[in-house]
């Protein structure tokens, strides 16, 4: 006997042996105990099962097309070979199913179809001798169909019931639920467990004798103990095991399986620690509870993604986007769209009508500051899934809101800044799902809103800031001009940022009041003047007065020089700076100022002929933070007839008591007697030691001057 024949003979015997073995296994099911080595063999079932599937399919082909093989014995031997693997697989399956975690209830169909494959295949093998319809067509076909069914049933055990068809029905899997309707277990805990736990803890596969697919099984616990321990939640096995390090043997889900993410972990923990209720509504939790805030987040973030309408065509969305209109999904992968308009001037009703292409998908629409009319609101009334609508400052009236009552999902409505009167409230009341309405700066009386709130406590009304009674002071008007020192005339403009105020002013140094001249057009000044202005408006207190001085350029000396040079850093254009009619700015380093610290400022001015001088103005800068103070002493001398310097003026200006920041000062000095002068000396001595309040007390102060005006 050749080796080939011997093998075939052995296989033939094996077939009979396996049949008997399987009958024993069927009878003794559930009562048998196997040595570990056999358990290893049982666990090879998932590997072995692929062989009979492939081999039996091939065999069926060989029988369907008998002419395709050179000699008929081949197909018979092939069938035997296939049956050998089929038998091995069936036996391994029995061994595997006897391990804990598989109940007969759930594997019975798979088991019996598998056994049927083996039996049917064997009949086929024994009946093979004749080439008839039975052996060539019927038996191959039946066996083939049966093995497909068996395979599918087996896959359902390991991968879950809906494994095969799941991709076709994902949409239905995440039903959208509002926070108010969400149940703790059904809508939050169960979906998490379904995704991450039940593949091993379900009816068909109960690892550790634990099922997590229904509330009663979760409470029952498993082999290792209570999955939820009501007396000591921290001892609950679910809580303990999900927090073990991943490397730990007992960590759940086991290493290699899809892990719980941080949010899911927190949700499960908070749920267990905060009493693990199964039927409690999420909203029944205290707002302070951690579980509540986590669950709220969970539900709301899913809501944003799950809508029961189809997404709009991305090309359509793209075509609606431009510089003045933004159309975008409210969240990644969400079919729901938010639309916003920009640029009042670019808006026209047609642009709103264009949105009809996506009327189903718009859930959020912002039209604030666009000019709308009643027709536009009718268009909005067609966006049936709208939830948030912002119509702030769109100029719409109360009656115009009528079409919004058709919006069954509208929750938040912003109507601030519109001329809406009380009839608007009646319409708002009729919007079915309305929750929050913003009614600040409308024409509805406070009383009416109070009544409305009393009647409709479920609607939140935000009326915002009302402050009509409390009058506060206006800010001062701005006095604007080009040159502080002018040569012939200067145009003065008064301005206030609030359009409705009246500005009143004086030009004689007195305080303006409600009877002073009202500013209408720019004022032209032709002499040195002190301008004072105040703003008035109804509902406001009058502003403090604004004060500005402008100077007509005076007599320019023919010769002038400085006794001491200014500091090297702040030397401007030298002595010329004093008479260049350029007013220095706030930047004392700009080169328009002369700065003195070590030496006093001392200037000698010579006039052409004897001049009558009544008035000397010094333009100074102070900035305490930068050590720039008013001079310690101002002295003015004139050269008398005998050629001596004679003091005609002396003053110690008041020193600041704190840091006032940068200030420009025009020190006006009126000479008492009429002074006919040929030469004049002006001396400003810096403060030698900064006062005690100053951070750099004791150091030398600066004096800054930029202009001298003589009249």
């Amino acid at each position: 006997m050749s080796l080939k024949s011997r093998i075939l003979l052995i296989l033939d015997y094996f077939l009979i042996i396996m049949h008997s073995l399987i009958i024993v296994l069927i009878i003794g099911q559930g009562r048998m105990v196997f040595p570990p080595l056999l358990e290893v063999f049982g666990r090879m079932h998932p590997l072995l099962l692929h062989f009979p599937i492939v081999l039996l399919i091939l065999t069926a082909f060989l029988f369907w097309f008998p002419d395709s093989i050179p000699y008929p014995a081949f197909r018979k031997n092939f069938l035997l070979f296939s049956l050998f693997f089929t038998g091995l697989t069936v036996i391994a399956g029995f061994l595997l199913s006897s391990e804990s975690g598989y109940s007969y209830e759930n594997i019975k169909f798979h088991q019996w179809t598998a056994v049927a494959v083996f039996w049917l295949g064997s009949i086929w093998y024994w009946a093979e001798k004749k080439d008839n319809f039975l052996t060539l067509k019927l038996l191959p076909t039946l066996t083939l169909l049966l093995i497909i069914v068996t395979g599918h049933l087996g896959a359902s055990i390991t991968h879950g019931d809906d494994f095969l068809l799941e991709p076709l029905k994902t949409a239905a899997k995440n039903p959208q639920v509002a926070l108010e309707e969400a149940d703790t277990y059904t809508h939050i805990i169960k979906p998490i467990m379904e995704q991450k736990c039940i593949s091993c803890h379900k009816a068909s596969k109960q690892k550790g004798d634990l099922r997590l697919d229904e509330a009663k099984f979760i409470l029952a616990g498993g082999k290792s103990g209570l999955s939820i321990d009501p007396t000591d939640p921290k001892e609950s096995l679910i809580f303990k095991r999900i927090h073990l390090p991943l490397e730990d043997e007992e960590h759940m889900p086991p290493k290699g399986k899809i892990q719980l993410d941080e949010e899911e972990k927190q949700l499960l923990s908070a749920w267990i620690l905060e009493s693990a209720h199964f039927d409690k509504k999420v909203t029944a939790f205290d707002a302070e509870d951690k579980f509540f805030s986590l669950a709220k987040n969970w539900v709301e973030s899913r809501q944003k993604v799950n809508y029961d309408f189809e997404a709009a065509d991305p090309k359509k969305i793209k075509s609606l986007n431009d510089e003045y209109r933004l159309v975008e999904p409210i969240a990644p992968q969400s079919p729901a769209l938010a639309v916003r308009f920009f640029g009042k001037k670019e808006f026209n009703p047609a642009r709103l009508v264009e949105l009809k292409k996506i009327d189903e998908q718009i859930v959020s629409l912002n039209l604030s500051h666009m000019d709308l009319n009643d027709e536009d609101i009718k268009v909005i009334g067609g966006f049936k899934n709208l939830e948030n609508l912002n119509l702030n400052f769109t100029g719409i009236s109360g009656q115009a809101l009528e079409p919004l009552t058709k919006l069954r999902k509208l929750k938040n409505l912003s109507l601030s800044g519109n001329p809406i009167q009380s009839e608007g409230l009646d319409i708002i009341q009729k919007i079915p799902a309305i929750k929050t309405v913003y009614l600040w700066n409308t024409q509805i009386e406070e009383k009416e809103i109070e009544n409305f709130i009393a009647k409709n406590s479920q609607i939140k009304i935000e009326t915002g800031h009302r402050n009509e009674g409390e009058a506060i002071a206006l800010n001062s008007p701005f006095i604007e001009f080009d040159n502080v020192i002018f040569e012939e005339s200067e145009k003065i403009t008064l301005r206030h940022p609030i359009g409705s105020v009246r500005i009143r002013y004086t030009l004689d140094g007195t305080e303006p009041d409600s009877l002073s001249m009202e500013y209408k057009e720019p004022i032209i000044l032709k002499e040195s003047t002190e301008i004072r202005a105040k703003a008035f408006a109804s509902g406001w207190l009058e502003s403090p007065s604004a004060k500005k001085l402008v100077f007509m350029a005076g007599i320019k000396p023919v010769k002038y020089n400085l006794v001491y040079e200014p500091n090297e850093q702040y030397k401007g254009k030298g002595v010329e700076t004093l008479f260049d009619l350029v007013k220095g700015d706030e930047d004392f380093g700009s080169g328009k100022w002369l700065g003195f610290q070590q030496n006093p400022f001392e200037a000698i001015l010579k006039f052409d002929a004897n001049q009558t001088v009544n008035n000397i103005s010094l333009s100074l800068l102070t900035d305490e933070g930068s050590h720039i103070f008013p001079p310690y002493r101002i002295e003015i001398f004139k050269r008398n007839s005998s050629g001596q310097w004679e003091n005609i003026f002396q003053e110690k200006p008041e020193q600041p008591l704190e840091n006032y920041g940068k200030q420009m000062i025009l020190k006006n000095i009126s000479l008492k007697n009429e002074n006919v002068i040929s030469s004049l000396k002006i001396k400003l001595s810096p403060v030698s030691a900064l006062p005690n309040w100053h951070p750099s007390k004791g150091s030398q102060a600066w004096v800054f001057i930029d202009e001298i005006l003589i009249n």
Binding site: N297, E323, A331, P332, S368, S414, W440, N441, G464, N659
Partner: protein, 483 residues
């Protein structure tokens, strides 16, 4: 199989080859239907953009009221009566634990504790302690979340400020606003996504520099645009005298044709970017005056912010402008109010600073709320670090100073997905160290990004061979403060 058959099969001719090839190509084509982006595969950076935002955002916009110079937490939100009781006593070494001090006080021979000159009261449902310096803020306490457990790494102004804004103490990284502009783009394409407004109080000031609103290594369109208080809020935006808008349009059209030609010949994408930026500037010419004009604001709004808001360049005016910009769809408005650096003369100076900001900050919250915008706008108020519980220099009950203190300070956040009416974190009774729920700068940044719908670990930019993030390699979202 016969030999002939085999040979025939091997005998390849052109017709056979082509017909088989066509089959192959046909199946290739069929297979490629399953790869939708086979021929227009996107770069990693483009894929990043398609993925943004990473999840549904809570906040669409941010207004960041930066209190530059570091306001004292001990005179604002962190009430420590013990410091008043132990006024003048030495800071216990067990509390200081030899931690780093600045050069300004490390030489001091003694560290006398100093309590707040100002009283504190409890407000709101959270019974939050707020000092008498902030009467308006105390009225909005139910709308804000006070975090008392912020801490930072830097101890001096510039590094701390840079750290807060860019996630690194050295100034070469993009600012938070630039990251958001990069990640989320502009909401309103007629205005920049990132705007910056400056104001200055009378208190001891610290400078702010444009590096704080830099785009860093990101594209320059993400740089913060500074709005100035002058007549020209955005510099160089206006047309020169004598140029009409129509002329400008014509000029831009011609320029665009030239740029288009140049693009067609060299295909540099920067050229297209340039065309778009010119177009945006053109649209900004009408959008900016619209947004900066406050003459149409209702009287009640002006009164709420205080009359200061009518003086351009004040903090109040900037708050009002910030609301207008944000309402118009500017993604990130960054304010800086300078003058909070009270090393000495604290009671007097902080009074002025608080007066500058209190009313307008509270008004901003109320104003956003009454327009229904607070829910989608995140407002942040706070400085770069805190101030020491001991006195810098000589101590007097009514005049003292405080040095820099990075180990604990307070900020508040409001709106945009943050829990309202909440006080988060706790410092020890000396107000020196954090004892509960510390929030690091990177945690804060991660949280802000999270609220904007961005996973801070995924918003990256590849530069000099590595991927950079705002939170570097740190940061944990502070989930407890999320609404």
């Amino acid at each position: 199989m016969g030999k002939e058959e085999l040979e025939h099969g091997l005998n390849q001719n052109r017709r056979k080859f082509l017909s088989k090839l066509s089959l192959g190509i046909g199946s290739l084509a069929l297979g490629s239907l399953l790869i939708p982006d086979l021929f227009n595969r996107k770069s990693a950076e483009e894929e990043l953009f398609d993925a943004l935002p990473h999840f549904a955002p809570k906040a669409k916009r941010v207004i960041y009221l930066f209190q530059n110079g570091a306001p004292s937490q001990l005179e604002s939100f962190d009430y420590k009566p013990l410091l008043n009781k132990q006024m003048g006593q030495e800071l216990p070494e067990s509390i200081r634990m030899g931690q780093r001090l600045t050069g300004m006080t490390s030489g001091q021979s003694s560290f006398p504790l100093v309590g707040s000159y100002f009283g504190f009261q409890q407000y709101g449902e959270a019974r939050a302690w707020i000092s008498d310096l902030f009467p308006h803020t105390s009225k909005i306490v139910d709308d804000i979340c006070i975090i008392k457990s912020m801490h930072t790494d830097a101890i001096n102004h510039d590094p701390a400020l840079t750290f807060f804004q860019t996630g690194a103490q050295v100034g070469n990284r993009p600012s938070m606003g630039a990251w958001l502009s990069y990640g989320l783009g502009s909401e309103n394409s007629n205005l920049p996504a990132f705007c910056v407004l400056l104001s200055r109080g009378k208190g001891n000031g610290q400078g702010v520099y444009s590096k704080l609103w830099t785009n860093g290594f990101l594209d320059s369109i993400h740089q913060g645009v500074q709005f100035s208080a002058s007549e020209d809020p955005v510099l160089y935006l206006g047309d020169p005298v004598g140029m009409s808008r129509a002329d400008r349009r014509k000029m831009l059209d011609k320029l665009s044709v030239l740029n288009q030609m140049s693009y067609e010949s060299v295909a540099d994408p920067e050229i297209m970017a340039k065309i778009q930026q010119y177009e945006m500037a053109f649209r900004m010419q009408t959008a900016v005056p619209e947004v900066t004009d406050i003459s149409n604001e209702p009287d009640s709004v002006i009164k709420m912010y205080g009359p200061d808001c009518l003086v351009p360049g004040t903090y109040a005016a900037n708050c009002l402008l910030a609301r207008k910009l944000s309402e118009s769809g500017v993604r990130f408005v960054q304010l800086y109010h300078q003058g909070w650096d009270q090393h000495d003369n604290l009671p007097r100076e902080i009074m002025g600073q608080a007066q500058d900001v209190d009313q307008a900050s509270a008004a901003l919250i109320k104003d956003l709320k009454q327009r229904g915008l607070l829910d989608e706008t995140l407002v942040i108020w706070g400085g770069e670090f805190g101030r020491t519980n001991y006195c810098q220099g000589k101590i007097q009950a009514d005049n003292y100073g405080r040095d820099h203190h990075p180990r604990a300070f307070s900020i508040w956040m409001a709106g945009g997905g943050v829990k309202s009416g909440m006080v988060y974190g706790e410092t020890d009774e000396f107000g020196y160290n954090i004892v509960d729920k510390p929030v690091h700068i990177h945690d804060f940044q991660a949280t802000v990004l999270h609220l904007m719908g961005i996973n801070h670990e995924k918003l990256t930019f590849k530069h000099l061979g590595r991927r950079y993030r705002l939170t570097d390699v740190h940061g944990k979202v502070v989930k407890d403060i999320l609404a």
